[in-house]
Amino acid sequence: MLEVDRSTPPTLFMHGNGFRLEELPVGSRVVYGPEPLPVLRDIDGAIRHALLHPVDSDPLPALLRPGMRLTIAFDDISLPLPPMRRPDVRQRVIEAVLDLAAEAGVDDVHLIAALALHRRMTEAELRHAVGDRVYDAFAPRGLLYNFDAEDPDALAFLGETDQGEEVEISKRAAESDLLVYVNINLVAMDGGHKSTATGLASYRSLRHHHNVRTMQHSRSFMDQHRSELHSSNWRMGDVIRRSGVKIFQIETTLNNDTFPKPFDFLQKREWEWSRRDRSAYLASSKALARTPDRLRRAVFQSVLAPHNLTGVNAGEVEAVHTLTTAKVMEQQLVHVEGQADVLTMGLPYISPYNVNSVMNPILVMCLGLGYFFNLYRGRPLVREGGVLIMSHPTPWEFHPVHHPSYIDFFEEVLAETTDPLEIEKTYEQSFAEDEWYRHLYRTSYAYHGVHPFYMWYWGAHALQHLGGVIVVGGDARAVRRLGFKPATTLRDALEMASDVVGPHPSLTHFHSPPLMLTEVT
């Protein structure tokens, strides 16, 4: 945390496929993430240790026997961000699990990318996640595949929670003798019962917690103890357990070392920039200014993060998740005193849903109001009725293959209303049950028809809490369609914000990446 004074250098704002330096008013506070935790020295050893010494569970070898049905589910392309360098942690864990399975003589093994209603992963993406060896051994025989939440023959209905929430997950996973879930716990929201209850679930199941009411009652969804999203997932986890599905949960945590050299200045505090950082900033900002946006996107999307394993825990879902959450907090928790009138943030080029894709305006909304806004425990960084100022170019752009229903959501739904409740009531069902979106989700690489709605619901709590949202440097037309106000410069945005919160507002800047979780007292 830094308080801006006259000698403070300008502050770096991520700005889509680029970044800008902004002068924050004197007295503003900048919240920085903690330093990266040290990485485990012997990663493979740590993984093997976790499998052999799990918490609240027998060691994995004891759970394996010849003739059994084993399913390994793993987190999809939305994690981690940015994608990590090879070998991916999923590959390391899966290889370790497969070694033990082979030793135990297990030969009925399926690997499923637990993508819920996300888009299917391409061959290249799957190869990156699980490694060529695993891919070539399983994919050609149809034993490594993407989960299909719209295949009625591949789903199993397990029952309802005490609150009437239906639980329907992958049939293969439900009918296996053991389900091993390989997780990457990037933020506090991930993992736990949410892994299986969400990652391997169908729309029928997901709609019970992916809705406006749940999101408005999760303060925030990053804090499992005050998150209705988690309560619902935990209730569902209970149903899954009671219906006899045996889960061996493997959760991994990463440090926050987000950018490789020479981009590592992006995650440093400006006043600590070395001469090399300053020249890297100059060189890259000049180069980016001369690069067409399409190419800039390609450059940024090809960035692989140097982050790596800080911990791995295996065993019973809840016990494992308690340890995992503690590790995430150790890396990400920042204490902040008091709320501000205005919260500023620079939005980066990537969100969980545009890896190798296009950051469309709906994802901009979701990243700012859904993810960044909710990265708090206790109270939001900005007071109720305060103003959120986000910096992002917000281009009117969409990936036609990955986000077809987003295009229609933007053109047909947001053109009519931006009110989450109204949107949910009037439009959700028709998009969710649309035959064409279903076809594209199942056979192409499209996010499910209902997915843009979830993006909008993710921001529902922020929309309710905030007095206004201003986007700096965005495509004015697209920003207005989102229901926000466009501003050319941060100075203009602050002027506009003072109309809402009054003159001389207090200001907090959320300096991310790296990711962090603020504890606001």
Binding site: T122, E123, A124, L126, D136, A139, P140, G142, L144, Y145, N146, D148, D151, D153, A154, R294, V358, N360, P395, W396, E397, F398, H399, P400, V401, P404, I407, D408, E411, E412, D434, E435, W436, R438, H439, L440, R442, T443, S444, Y445, A446
Partner: protein, 791 residues
Amino acid sequence: MIADALAGRRLLVTGSTGFLGTALVERFLRSVPGSELVLLVRAGRRSTPERRVQREVLRNDAFDHLRAALGERFDDEVARRVTVVGGDVGTDGLSLDDGGREALASCDVAVHAAAAVAFDSPLDRAVEVNLLGPTRLAQTLQSVGAGPHLISVSTCYVAGNRRGRAAEVPVFDAPFGPRPAWREEVDAARRARADTEAESRTPPLLARFAKAARAELGAAGVPLLADKAERLRETWVADTMVEAGRARARALGWPDAYAYTKALGEQALRETRGDLPVTLVRPSIIESALAEPRPGWIRGFRMAEPVIITYARGLLREFPGIPEGVVDIIPVDLVVAAVLDAAARGPAEGADPAIVQVASGSANPLHYRHLVDLVHGWFSQHPLYDAKGQPIVVPRWTFPGRGRVQHQLQRAVKVIDQAEKVLGTLPLRGGQARWAADLEERRADAARALEYVELYGAYAETEAVFAVDQLMARWSTLDAVDRSRFGYDPRVIDWDHYVTQVHLPSVVEHARVRVTAGGRSGPSRTERLRARVLSPERHLAAFDLENTLVASNVVDSYSWLATRRLAGADRVRFALRTLAEGPSLLALDRKDRGDFLRHFYRKFEGAPVAQLEEDATQLLSYLLVTKSFPAGIRRVRQHRRLGHRTVLITGALDLVVERNLAPLFDDIVCARMGTRTEPDDGRGPSWNGELRDAPPTGEARAQAMADYADAEGLRLEEAVAYADSASDLPMLEAVGFPVAVNPEIRLAAIARKRGWLVEQWSKAPGGPRPLLPIGPPTRRTSFPTRPNPVR
């Protein structure tokens, strides 16, 4: 007293659906109570004479006054006093039935106001109607045993292009000038028609029409091209006859075919009238009413009006004319009054018919410069507005010679023509095709200006002064009551008032032009058309695929499929080679789409069926969806939501579209390729590269639509079709609601002309733009498939 003299009389009127005729009927019904009318009216193409009178005469706003005065009695009054008779002055005997002849026989006065008034009528049409019309009417009246007073409406311009005073004397009595024999002129005109028809059917001309049709429509299929060529032939015949009329008229010293045929018509009537009493009324240029039935009343867009509006839109930078010359304009109500006066007065004593000129030039001249100044001043104060809501500044004319203006405009049209031709050879569509639209609009503007200069330039250069001695003599005998009720004294016109307060406001009102500033309000034309297309009453929507829903074509999909299993450099080489064939393929495509597809699909010969089918499922993501127009896909789905059936009609292969696009369409009509099992090399069956049926292109597409609609019990009039190219014209024309999507130049031009909805759809902004149509590399397996593949 005019009204008293006419009371109880029966008046025959021809040409009652025209400008002067309508005003005459209205005035007669209103001002001469107790009188009756017989209207001789030609049957329309789809309506009876009675219906024409109802729609074209009685519903005209000229009758507002009378309607208001009579209230509910209007219809009864009209039914009692007006008899409609079917007949045509363009044929011998007027094509009358017995009832018609009887009605004609009962008339006391006949006013012949029927004429082909267009200055650019084809020669033979002008001859039949204007030259022979009065004679035929006179002969028919005599043949039915009637001898009414025949008042034949002619024109002052029978005097021809002469300078100075033009007296009220028979045409051939005027000094100088040729005296052509009218019977020979009639024969020559009829012969010219036969000759022109014959010439239009000679091989060189037929070849020219066929070429022009192809240039306009492209590969639209034989039936449509043949139809277009035939229409071009008819247009050519008509144009040639118009030119023949203009040329003959000018050769004899008249400004155009209208004046020429009217002049000979007077002479013919004079020779053939027998003992029928005749009066000739010669108005000059008839314009909007001074006072009756209301100030500014006008019908039809006539001579000066289009010129004025074109000027006000800033499109006539120059116009010929002699500034100090006289423009002879006469308000319609003055002409009507003069005709009724003549009717009341009866025929003149003596052997020769009385001739009355109704004109303003000698008694109350309006000089050309004064008129132009008035118009300029008025439009400077009351400008029209362009599409963006900006006022249009009107140009000042400098009165150059007609030759110069004509020359400039001809050059402009020629340059634009050339540019259009160049543009037409380029494969442009969407936004670029809009250049062509601009050019076309400018060409139309220039061509229209040229037409006006050629047609009407002569009238602005007339130096004849039409004498009105007869008219004034008659005026002097009227009492005060008649003078106030049937005024025809041209000296009462205050030109400043008439032009700025009466005529121009009326012209602008009739022209339906933008007279207010600022952006438009209410839905745009496109929005209205779109609403009609998306109305629940429609029940079938047919879509073309390539460049309508997807920015791709058979070349792309072929290249994509063919390179899928090639290694690195070979893939690029292959795709480049295929693309290099582009221009020759484009040429083939323009000639005949069916041949193009056949040529192309032969390349698939020998490809294994199973492999191609598997790869084709990947094509959905990497080609079809990547290059799709999201708005187009959305439109398909909108139609489905409205309960319309959706059909894809495409020349693309079944393996490319059938499974991939199944959820969008109720049915898919596409090209289907045959397979063979020989030789059995263990790879299973392979494609034989030949289509199983004729590919659905051109008229086959329209036929496919018609068959489909028939089989499903749907009506094509309620169907919508979306397509992008002129080769889809048959399909677009077959339905009630055609939509041109990103049209290429030719289709864009056609869509504009016919008022079709045009949609500009584009690929998703920001989506991937693969440089070459090649698939992503695949290793041992094509893709991770699920244990249970879809569908």
